[in-house]
Symmetry: C3
Subunit: 436 residues, 3 copies
């Protein structure tokens, strides 16, 4: 990788990049995804039109540590007709309407009997909730509370969920960018949520575009992008790739990358991994309103990567934190909720962290006894007390801490300077043969 | 000990417990105590009516490190008659009136001469101070400043202190509850103060009742309750019980447990002993207004247990900190100043810390590679996004940190959850065979 | 050194001391100093009239790590005449008027041509700036902006800088006070600034007087005072005294010791050296308004002493921090700007830190099992609850922490007591044979 941090100076609001990411998210949004089935495959098809993908199909029932891969879920149609025959809920209007992974059902019943199968959000009466039932056989619908309130009380409702659970395979995709070494930086996100734009069409789309950004760069680490269903997808990948696990140096889980909040970074279980420190630096940048929080075993697949048997250095990047914004897991998490500028900013946040990790090294001052004479090397202004040509502060910090025990990121943290400024100073000092 | 923390759920304001403790304190209050003599024995008699006591009599002059046990002090009568013959101070009214450990005296003198032997509190003119003179031969009285101001200036006063210092023994008592091991948890308080209710009839009474609470429980540690005179009592015990000292894992000094302030816990010299961490957790509980302070070598017998040659893990529990409340060491520290509800709360504070130390252990996750599947074990709600049956946060924290390096208290501290919640989650996971 | 901290009780505003220091500064002020030449020698002459000096002349061109010692600069005369022949700038008025280390020049030119050789402070129009050009051949004048604005635009100006750069030597001086050991405490300041009173006639004068204060004291360390030009002076000294460098335990750079601000102490690169901890203690003293900041590789010669190849424990003491006060490096940094009381306070600040370092040791409690009996040794008041004769808090802290692992300064830091109080308590305990 080019050590000059030019990549960092990109305008993070560049409409082209954001528009590209939003377009991918828009393509992903309508697909009805679940843990396994045609929705996941259609999702990977979208990604594969952008970047090369290794497609992996893990047969139903394959053990994955304490778990096994699930049956595929295929839903063909689903609706409720009221006693007058009017369709009051239709899966084709919005795939959130069906309880995700619901068993098939056909029958007629009173509204009272039906109610126990309808999930609503009374406090958000105009939104459809997103609910799942992966591990218990249930059937159900998710509806706007306001719509349920309008249903006639008398008469019988005709209910249809034309779905099937079939032996097949769970799908995931991987994209690998080979770097100078086979040590890996893994970026991953879940592909199992149906029509929810921020959680997580945004994450899939950002990682897809990020893979294109990194393509062709000179990289020290190999970058693996994993697009997999939540929990069981991560578990299956971990269980079946022990030799890759041993090569992971950095990892990042992403979700909810398109809204106006945050960004927020949740540290890995280790708390001080390079990804944690790089992200902390990015989050405290002048242009960032980012915040950082400590690891907690809730959230997304960092729960698996950071389980005690693995304890891998995976953090979680989000803009608004899941379950803290009112659109979360509702029909309001739609394509209007995510914006090109925030998607681009998320892309750039991850890229900046990658560039820090790539560019970081422990420099060694070749003239460590006292300060070297900067003036005759053109690194110090000609008039003492006058203006300086270069960032003399950064040059002095690098020289002072370049004792083989401090990396550029250490120097940035201790000096309070931005990494890019420290890296630029180090580069000038290398050119002046004062540093290796 | 039963590891389910049911004991913690007791109503801390239970009148029965508080009333029992207050009744013991009331029985102790009138006794005229000092370092050694009949007052100490009468005090231990009161305790022995509640719990079995090993009574120890250490002969006068027995060496105890840099010290020696003192002569017994016996005071039979003490008064001052004014020039008109009126009794203006009478020991039988209040035993604080005599300088504690005062030498005997009989004589007639002017008020001016008498004044140098009278201790008052000019800023609290209606209170009698508590003063001692253990290490210098003095005679004296403690009086209300207002009363002294009213004494006639002319004429001779008749003064009598009918007291004696005799070779005998210093008394202390011990109560031992044997646990599964002979490693010890020592709880101790001083028994040498005369009619001062908070300092320290409250401490004696609370420990007495606590011993009854622990009786019959299944305990990992053996619990030793030591009732002894301050300073010399602790020193004599330490000097004469080196084999017990080597078995002490936890220790607590108590005093001033009955007033409305605090509670306050002062850390041991080590600062991070298990008793320090358990008490810190109790003090930061939602129901607690407790505060914590660092060790300082002043206060009660923690000065001896935490001296550099011992450095034992003894903290100090109080409600109001000694010498910070106006009733301290005055006649206002009476039975009205201590309240049953605060005495019961103090009992429960200590018990909660004991229960944490007893219940703490380092669990090991038996399914550490990723998260185990909670749903099929009934530990996760059936509808994703719906309500949870159990405290899923606590279950996840325990699983995540159960790597053999974190105890339940570590997990509670890192997660910010209450110990009882963490312990309950661990117990459920043990029942589900996910934890040992 | 006498371990009783009586020296600390000096009145820091003592007019005699402050007046003596100010008088030395006043003698130094008019001299036109630069890196090398007669000004440096005249400066050392002034110091040598107060204390013995080893005068060192390092020949021009002598290598010093990455640098070499400079040519001497001798300036005989310098002026500008306006087209009417009036002298508008004259070196003899103020030596700041000539760009320090300026090359010689003689010529006639327009005001426009002249302007590029004149340095001003437009925002401080009545002040002459101090500027240097050590490493580029330039000629120039420094003038009041207001004066330049008044110069007639038409006609030719006659310009003269009668200066020469000659092969000679760079001068510095050293004063050594031998202590009980050859381990060294180095105090140093720069002597290369011309008529700037605070930066740094104040530093030279304070160190000179401090050397007199320490003379004849019984000291554990040897004290070396180095008066040398900035940067190259420190580098040359370091390069040529490797055997002394190995013996340095403590170091301090001083500058700007006479103004009303601060004091401020900047930590050494190590951050926790004894000088850092002693100065931190002095700065947080009740009488001090001192502040502390972390090391940064800018400032004075601590940049050289704390370079990574040396990493010596040198801090920087100042009152106002350089470059933060408006008089800095201007003609307003004159003898009125520095005051006797602040110069004396700076002297005493350094002396207090020295006395802490000299008096610090790790005491050992000879009666560590419990507390020793203070009463029979006259260290505890005769009436319990009554007044104490000595500082019983300090006595108890010393006894408690005198385990061989805590120095007096450790005890002061942990207890929050002043070092002098802790040291006095330790001395009393030594007299009572309770401490070694």
């Amino acid at each position: 990788m080019d050590l000059t941090p030019t990549g960092m100076e990109r305008d993070t609001a560049a409409p082209t990049l954001g528009a590209r990411i939003h377009a991918i998210a828009a393509e992903l949004y309508p697909i009805c995804r679940s843990l396994a089935g045609p929705g996941a495959r259609a999702t990977l098809d979208v990604v594969e039109r952008q970047i090369a993908l290794k497609r992996v199909e893990t047969p139903t029932g394959t053990p994955a540590h304490d778990w096994a891969t699930p049956l595929e879920w295929r839903v063909h149609d689903a609706w409720i007709r009221d006693p007058s025959g009017r369709v009051v809920v239709d899966f084709s209007d919005c795939n959130l309407h069906v309880l995700n992974y619901s068993v098939a059902f056909r029958g007629r019943m009173t509204l009272d009997a039906l109610r126990s199968h309808i999930f609503t959000l009374p406090e958000q009466p105009d939104l459809i909730p997103y609910r799942t039932s992966y591990y218990e056989d249930q059937w159900g619908f998710c509806m706007r509370y306001a719509d349920v309130e309008k249903l006639p009380a008398e008469g019988l409702y005709d209910v249809c969920i034309d779905a099937e659970h079939v032996v097949g395979a769970m799908s995931h995709g991987e994209h690998l960018i080979r770097g100078d070494t086979d040590r890996e930086f893994v970026l991953t996100t879940h592909i199992c949520h149906p029509s929810l734009a921020n959680d997580n069409c945004s994450g899939i789309a950002v990682l897809t575009e990020l893979a294109k950004t990194l393509a062709g760069r000179d990289l020290r680490w190999s970058y693996r992008f994993i697009f997999a269903p939540a929990t069981i997808g991560a578990l299956a990948w971990l269980a079946r790739n022990p030799e890759v696990v041993d090569r992971i140096d950095h990892g990042l889980v992403v979700s909810c990358l398109g809204d106006a909040g945050g960004p927020n970074y949740k540290r890995s279980r280790r708390g001080d991994a390079p990804i944690d420190r790089a992200m902390a630096h990015v989050m405290t940048g002048a242009a960032s309103t980012g915040t950082i929080r400590d690891f907690a075993p809730e959230g997304y697949d960092e729960r698996q990567f950071c389980s005690p048997g693995y304890d891998l250095p995976f953090g979680l990047l989000q803009r608004s934190i899941h379950a803290t914004f009112p659109q979360y897991h509702t029909s309001a998490d739609n394509l209007d909720f995510i914006r090109p500028e925030y998607l681009a900013a998320s892309h750039d946040t991850i890229l900046e962290a990658i560039e820090i990790i790539e560019a970081d090294y422990c420099p060694l001052n070749l003239s460590p006894m006292g300060e070297p004479q900067l003036g005759r090397r053109g690194l110090y202004g000609p008039v003492g007390g006058g203006a300086q040509i270069f960032d003399i502060d950064a040059i002095r910090w690098v020289l002072n801490l370049a004792d083989g025990c401090h990396s550029l990121l250490d120097i940035a943290e201790r000096s309070g300077l931005r990494f890019r400024v420290v890296a630029a100073a180090a580069e000038r000092l290398r050119q002046a043969r004062l540093l290796t």
